[in-house]
Structures are given as C-alpha cells and as structure tokens.
Point group: C2
Chain length 355, copies 2
C-alpha cells in the first residue's frame, strides 16, 4: 500500500508559540490585516521564513474579503455561435469562484471592424479592471491597447488567437498552423487522396473573421504541398454581407464544378454548405469543418459533414478566468501559453466530446 | 457591457442579527461545532432556511479540520505504463486538495488473477476508508467487494472499466463499444478500405488484460460488419508469458501473411509490433493503437503507428479523487457516469494532447 500525503501543514498555534505572540497576531500577519506592532510582525515573519511557511491561499483569500473586477473583450455573436460557448465558460468559472467575490464584465466588439475593438478597449480601460481577458483583433489595435495595460500593470490573457510578440500573462487557444496540417491529413484520408478539393471561405467587409482561420489555411496548404503536390485547391468565397443568398452562391459553385466532391472550411460555419448539401441530397460530398456548434453537429449526425475539428471554446473561457483568479487572487505563478488540443470528431465519437 | 456576478453571499453578521444570537453561535451552527444551545440552534436554522442559505463549503471544510482517508485499488504496472498516468492523476489531485487533510492509499493487484483483486480489496476494507476508487476486475469478485462497501455505506467510484449493474457513485472511463466503432472507422480510412487486416491481441494466463479491450473489439467488429462486410479480420495473439519472444511471434506472423498491411490493437502495447516494423524497416504497414504512452508516441513520430486513440488516464485519476472530495468533504451531489472523450492522435496533433 502506497501512501500519498503531501507534507502536513504547520499550525498557526505552533507559529504563535515560536514567535511568542498570540494566535490572533499570527492570523493578522498572515492575512495582511492591520493592528500588528512592528516588533510582533518581525518576530512572526522571522518564524514564517525559518519554517518556509506555505500559506493556505484559499483561507487567505476568503478572509481578506477583497472584491475583484475582471473584464473580457469578446466578439459580438449570436446565441448559438462558437463564441457563446466561450462566454459560457467564462461565466461558469465566475460562478465556480463565487466565494471569492469576483465579478466579470463582458464588452463586445465587431470582429470585422478594427475601430470597434479600439472603442471597446478604451471603455474597458476606464473601469480600472483587476485583470482582462482579450480576444485579440488586428495586430496594431491590440498592441496599442496592451501597451497601456502593461504601463498600468494590469494583467491580461489572450483567448482564441495569440500575438506572441505581445507578452500576455498567458494564452489559451489552438495552434492554427498545426491545426491546419492536421485538417489536411484528415481531408486527404477522407477524400482518398483526391486531387480536386474546394476551400470554402466566409468573408465580410472583404475580410476573414479571424487570424486563426488565416493561419489554419497556411498550415493546410503547406501540408497539401508536401504530401499531395498535384492537388488543385479551388476557393469558394461566400460573402456574409453580399447581395446574393448563401444558397445562390453555393448553387453557382456546385453547378460550375460538378467534379469536386471534397471540401474544407476553417470557419465554424460549415453547416452553411452542409445544409445546402442535405437539401440537394448530395451524398457523394465529403466535408471537413470546425467547431462543435449545434447546427454543425446536426450535419455530422446526418452525414453531410464527415469530420469536425474541435478546440474547446468552453474550456478556453473557463481556463482564462481560472488562470486570472490564480494569478490575481491566489498570487500563483502562471505557466505561459496553453495550446488547446486539436480534436477530431465524427458521428462515432462526438457524443463524448467534453467541452 | 454585461455583468456576471452570482448572487452576493449573505454575511454571517446579518444572520446573527436576524436570529438574535452572536456571530460565534452562527459560526458554530454553520460548521457543525458543539456548544450551541438548542434554542439558539433552532433560531439560526430558521433564518438559514428562510434565506435559503448556501454555505461556503470551502470555509466549512477548512474550519472542520477533519482528516480523510481515500483508498484506490489499481492494477500493478511498470513505471512507463498506462496505469502510471492514472496514478499521477490520483496523486496530483491529492496534492491539489492538500489544504483539506486528504490522504490516499494505493493498493495494487494482478490484472490477470482474480484472487489477487480479492486479496487487495479485503486488505483495503480493513482500513475503514472514507471512500474507494476501484479499477474493477472480474464481475463476480468486484461485486462481492462492492456489496460489502454498500453495506458499510462506503462510497466507491469505478475507474477505467464500468460495471453498470453495480451502482457505484460514478464512473470515469471510455465507452469501449463506441471507442471500437471509432477505431474501425479510422482504420478503414487509413487502410483505404482494405479488406485484409490483422487484429493484434496481447494475452497472459490465457486472458486479455481488461474488459475494456474485449468490448472495444466487439464495437470494432460490429462496425466493420456493417460497413465493410467482406473484410477478413485475422487474429495475431501475442503471449506475454509465452516461451517465444515477441519478436519471434511477430516474425512468424508476418512471414506467413505478407499481404496484410493494416492492423489494429486495443491494448496500450501497440509499440511492440510498431518497434518490430521499425526494425524491419517496413514502411508499408498502417497500425492503429491505443494510449499516449512514451514508446507509442515514439512510434507515432517515426511513422510506424498511424494513429493512437487516447482516453485521458491522468484525468480519469484526477477526476475520481476530485469527485470523491466533492462528495465526501464538500457534500456535493455527484452526476452519474463520466465517459471520457475518444480522442484521435496523429503525428500532426499529438503534442497538444492535454492529459
């Protein structure tokens, strides 16, 4: 029988005895409360140092009764979108740490407009937050904001996309290059090494929603070039704000390219082509997409999406708050950069995906 | 800006005021400590009920100073095996909850001998544990033990394999039937729908190490029968305690079956055939296996394993202790049965697998 019992904590009573002060005095020193004479404080701190005292940070934080305001800057989104899962994670973590007097404020911005991020970040800065969780936008606008945070010593964490040149406390999200390479391998298998594929891109204001999607494409194209150099990658750009309906845009493409039977999208909107395929009853098309949102999962069940790659949005949100809590409230060290797993889901295993 | 702030806790001072007693009395009632008059207790409990008081369970548990003994019954294993990752998870959780005076005792048994489990469980029972985490063995020997636990009101959790007829507090592990189906789909793709495959089984004392492996095979065979009914599944049984070396056993098979180029094993010992393939420099063979242990990962990197299916052994261990802690110490309700995700790892994504 093996016993696992991390070193027993020394009791406050023992510290008081060694320092020759009362238990109350030790308690006040430990929790940083006033009404301790300088002499008593020096004695207690001497004993703490001597025994290498590891404080019970939960008890300290509970005793201090301090209130903390965390902020998050998040893209605007519908209720059933990818970002709502991130938001659920943020909220669940705040609820979990309920005992520690945390409040979280979420401010939204338009992903397709830089000035919207700038405005949101300006607003948040005025609130003097204890910590900020940021879904970065363009490099410049994010850098401008973060420079102010660094100056004011406000810790910040990047969620979803990373900008390695800006030194955030940490990052939670997927490695988009590796993710794109993995997607390429899966599409190659699912398509039986087919040499005609379509890459479906969703755009608004002439831009892709996120840097993550752009980098996934780079990883994807590298892998295909290395392993299937003859492969023709045709692009289908679906305008989210165009005059033509999605249906029209898809119809045009599929009429013009009847030989293409394999496709991929790096956005969470795979259900848009997948639902079109279902309506047309096209069973000969193999589609790989991203993210476990409800409409995607329906298409996975019905077979119009072959595989989804998932990236734990709930956990990204949850872990950002947890890490901020550990850093700000419990004063724990934070390991840098948490890359999310790159997970493959099919009709056979998706029900056990853990958010 | 959206504010997330779970309802503010009512203060003990307010409860004391409403009940007309001292703060110390409220504190004693909340933490179940003695020296409270019946009259005061009734008053305080009345107020608590009226305001639907949700106790701060962390503070209560910290204040109670009670010690808890958890036990675990685990298969014997080498340092680099699958089970050592489960054990790390158990230990890390105990360390995490260090402030709450938990000790964990681990007792080992031989997976290939029922009487070994019976002996281990008998020993553990004598220790009067506050909770037990069990990797079940044969149905009968596990049932006999669990009947005693139920009688003595000792909570127990199943880890790795489930026996649904025995009502454990909860279960942490993979759904083996679904896992086998998923493995079949992946092998079908990786082999390009090849109709000659080998199923490699590892045995000792004429038995497979676990029920999980047996059920994975059932799920696998069902899927193949549905989707590729012409497929010939040849079995290669490797005797872990036989007279012939693994190398000899593998050599014999591959000489006799030169046309077979695709294989699967449901054990974590995929590295045994994979290292053989590397030594023979056979690059035309596609192997699917289970579990992210070091020697498997090396073969994944070198290409002699195409895919590994992972099942989060560390998390299984960690979550079992966490759930037992929540149940025994924090008195929280436990949702039943936690099926682990069925995760696919290849050379492209394995580095971001989160234990």
């Amino acid at each position: 029988m093996v016993e696992v019992n991390p070193s027993e904590k020394i009791r406050i009573k023992d510290i008081a005895e060694q320092a020759g002060v009362s238990v109350g005095t030790v308690d006040r020193v430990l929790h940083g409360r006033p009404n301790v004479s300088k002499k008593a404080r020096i004695k207690v701190e001497g004993v703490l140092k001597q025994i290498d005292y590891q404080p019970n940070m939960y008890a300290s934080a509970l005793a201090s009764n301090k209130k903390y305001c965390f902020h998050c800057i998040l893209p605007e989104h519908d209720q059933d979108a990818y970002w709502s899962q991130v938001e659920d994670g943020l909220k669940d973590a705040i609820t979990k740490y309920n005992d520690f007097h945390l409040t979280l404020y979420i401010t939204y911005y338009n992903q397709f407009r830089s000035e919207s991020f700038a405005k949101a970040s300006q607003k948040v800065l005025q609130e003097k937050p204890d910590g900020i969780i940021i879904v970065p936008q363009d490099h410049n606008v994010t850098e401008t904001f973060c420079a102010k945070l660094i100056k004011q010593d406000i810790p910040f964490i990047f969620l979803d996309s990373n900008i390695p040149e800006i030194k955030a406390l940490t990052f939670y999200g997927q490695d988009p290059l590796k993710s794109g390479r993995f997607a390429a391998r899966i599409l190659m298998l699912a398509s039986q090494y087919c040499k005609d594929i379509v890459l479906i891109k969703f755009m608004k204001n002439n831009r892709i929603a996120s840097k993550q999607q752009e980098f996934r494409e780079i990883g994807f194209r590298h892998y295909i070039q290395e392993h299937l150099p003859d492969c023709q990658i045709k692009e289908l750009i679906i305008q989210l704000d165009g005059n033509r309906s999605y249906n029209e845009q898809l119809e045009r493409f599929f009429i013009d390219n009847p030989h293409i039977r394999n496709g991929i999208t790096f956005s969470s909107l795979a259900y848009i082509p997948a639902e079109y395929l279902l309506r047309k009853n096209r069973r000969d098309f193999s589609l790989v997409g991203y993210d476990m949102i409800e409409r995607n999962v329906e298409c996975l069940q019905k077979g119009s999406i072959s595989f989804l790659i998932a990236q734990h949005p709930w956990r990204q949100g949850y872990d950002c708050v947890k890490t901020m809590f550990n850093h700000v409230v419990l004063k724990q060290e934070t390991p840098r950069d948490h890359y999310m797993p790159i997970e493959l889901l099919s009709a056979e295993n998706y029900i056990y995906y853990s958010k």
